[in-house]
């Protein structure tokens, strides 16, 4: 969990790059870029949760 989120974030970036390369029409490109960003944000949330210190 601690590192899973950090591994997911580059995958989101690759999805963003794929959107640039594979799609020329702006709406579809924008949708896939947002998908990539959403994956990155989810990875960040998982990483944040995994790094929460033990209370006390």
């Amino acid at each position: 969990m601690k590192y899973a989120g950090l591994l997911v974030m580059p995958a989101g970036f690759l999805l963003t790059l794929a959107a640039l390369v594979l799609f020329a029409d702006p709406p579809r490109r924008l949708a896939f870029v947002f998908c990539g960003l959403a994956v990155e944000v989810m990875g960040l949330i998982v990483a944040v949760r995994g790094h929460m210190p033990q209370r006390g």
């Binding site: 950090l6 974030m9 580059p10 995958a11 640039l20 870029v33 944000v41 929460m52 209370r55």
Partner: protein
């Protein structure tokens, strides 16, 4: 992948002598932003770590400048220099600069290139100081210096090449018709988002200050030791930022000199809007305005303005600054209370989140079609490549040079433990503070 001169956009017309002189004067004022950040970091820490915080700022800045001059500047490159280029999908992706190590060729470079290099040296010094504030009271000087080597030698140059050195983010406009490519005139990405993300990696790896998160109840408040340092740092930072954003508009956005008053007005309005918003939010939430959170809001407005000061209208700058000022106190509080992130200087929010917000706001405000998409791709690169890279390098570094001071040192205070003397030798430290 092969080394070759990258196919970058044609460089802008050569700067006039007047523009060169004005830019140089502005860059000589820009270190006031670094001085302001140093004072803020010190004031938000504890009195028993104040000397270490100040010396650490100088030390990290010095290490970063030396490492960047030796290696980083070569990796950052400038448009037209040699670079590692990837040819894929019919496009040219410039990944990393290759040339100018040890500042080779600086003497024969154009004044514009020399000014760009000076700007980047100041930018890398600023970038390494951002996480230093987050590691207050527990981050060792040696580890801070090692992190400065990593940031100035590889991470910052990588981002700087992508954005300022004719790299693939700068070429999004020519390669994919996305506006003018990724726009980051003042370093909202290369300096602040990068610094804020490295601060997040640091606080995860170093852990919270001792006693910050007790077993039960809310987190322990550890207020900064000198609000005057913090507020004066904000004023110093304003002067530096006005010069910084104006210089960056000339260097990276190729703005004419006549655009500089507008850039300065946008910078000031962004900070002012942010402070008014933070003042209002903290007064509404706590009954009284909070001095350190208001300082954080002011800085968040300045940080966000780095991205759009050269592009936006005054009204847009005021709006974007106000948005930064609204989310800053809420996010600082949320990160601490909900996610147990111990960030004494608030750098994760003030530099990381506000920098990312500024980049997105620049996409909204820029007139070119497709600019928003270019900004989104840049943000994705920061979150998906730069942040994991920083975390990986910090985690490896932590195995070689332990980030966190030992418990006795933390109890004693970083000044006594690392420097052998306190910042305020005439102060008496209470027993309950020494052994809490």
């Amino acid at each position: 992948m092969n080394p070759m001169p990258p196919m970058t956009p044609a460089p802008a017309a050569a700067m006039s002598d007047v523009a060169i002189a004005v830019t140089l004067v502005l860059l000589l004022l820009a270190p006031l932003a670094i001085a302001g950040l140093t004072l803020i970091n010190t004031g938000l820490g504890r009195s028993r770590s104040a000397a270490q915080a100040m010396l650490g700022s100088l030390f990290l800045g010095a290490v970063a400048a030396v490492v960047f001059a030796i290696a980083g500047a070569g990796f950052a490159g400038l448009p037209g220099n040699w670079a590692v280029v990837l040819h894929a999908y019919g496009k040219t992706w410039s990944i990393l600069g290759l040339g100018g190590f040890f500042l080779h060729g600086l003497g024969s470079a154009t004044p514009q290139a020399q000014l760009g290099l000076l700007f980047e040296i100041l930018a890398v010094v600023m970038a390494v100081l951002v996480p230093w504030g987050s590691g207050a009271d527990r981050w060792r000087l040696a580890a801070g210096g090692a992190s400065a080597v990593v940031l100035a030698g590889l991470v910052f140059p990588l981002a700087a090449h992508w954005i300022w050195g004719g790299g693939w983010l700068a070429a999004l406009g020519t390669n994919f018709s996305l506006g003018a490519g990724f726009l980051d005139g003042g370093g909202a990405a290369t300096v602040h988002a990068l610094g804020g993300l490295s601060a997040l990696a640091l606080v995860w790896i170093a852990g919270p200050r001792r006693g910050k998160f007790p077993r039960e109840g809310l987190s322990t408040a550890i207020p900064g030791h000198n609000a005057v340092y913090v507020q004066f740092g904000c004023l110093l930072a304003l002067v530096g930022w006005l010069a910084w954003n104006a210089a960056s508009a000339i260097l990276w956005l190729h703005a004419p000199l006549t655009a500089l008053p507008g850039t300065a007005i946008n910078t000031l309005l962004s900070a002012a809007g942010a402070l008014v918003a933070t003042f209002t939010v903290t007064r509404a939430r706590f009954g009284k305005p909070d001095a350190s959170l208001c300082a954080n809001g002011w800085m968040a407005g300045l940080v966000a303005s780095c991205a759009y000061a050269g592009l936006a209208t005054p009204a847009e700058s005021l709006f974007a600054g106000a948005v930064a000022g609204i989310f800053t106190p809420l996010l600082v509080e949320g990160l601490e209370l909900a996610l147990s992130i111990d960030d004494p200087s608030g750098a994760v929010t003030v530099h990381g989140a506000a920098g990312l917000w500024g980049l997105l706001a620049a996409g909204f405000f820029a007139p070119q079609p497709g600019q928003m998409l270019a900004q989104l791709v840049g943000v994705a690169a920061l979150l998906g490549v730069i942040f994991p890279l920083i975390y990986l390098l910090y985690a490896l570094l932590n195995r070689v040079v332990a980030f966190r001071v030992d418990p006795d040192g933390e109890r004693m205070g970083m000044d006594l433990h690392e420097l052998g003397g306190g910042a305020y030798p005439e102060f008496v430290i209470h027993r309950d503070e020494s052994y809490r």
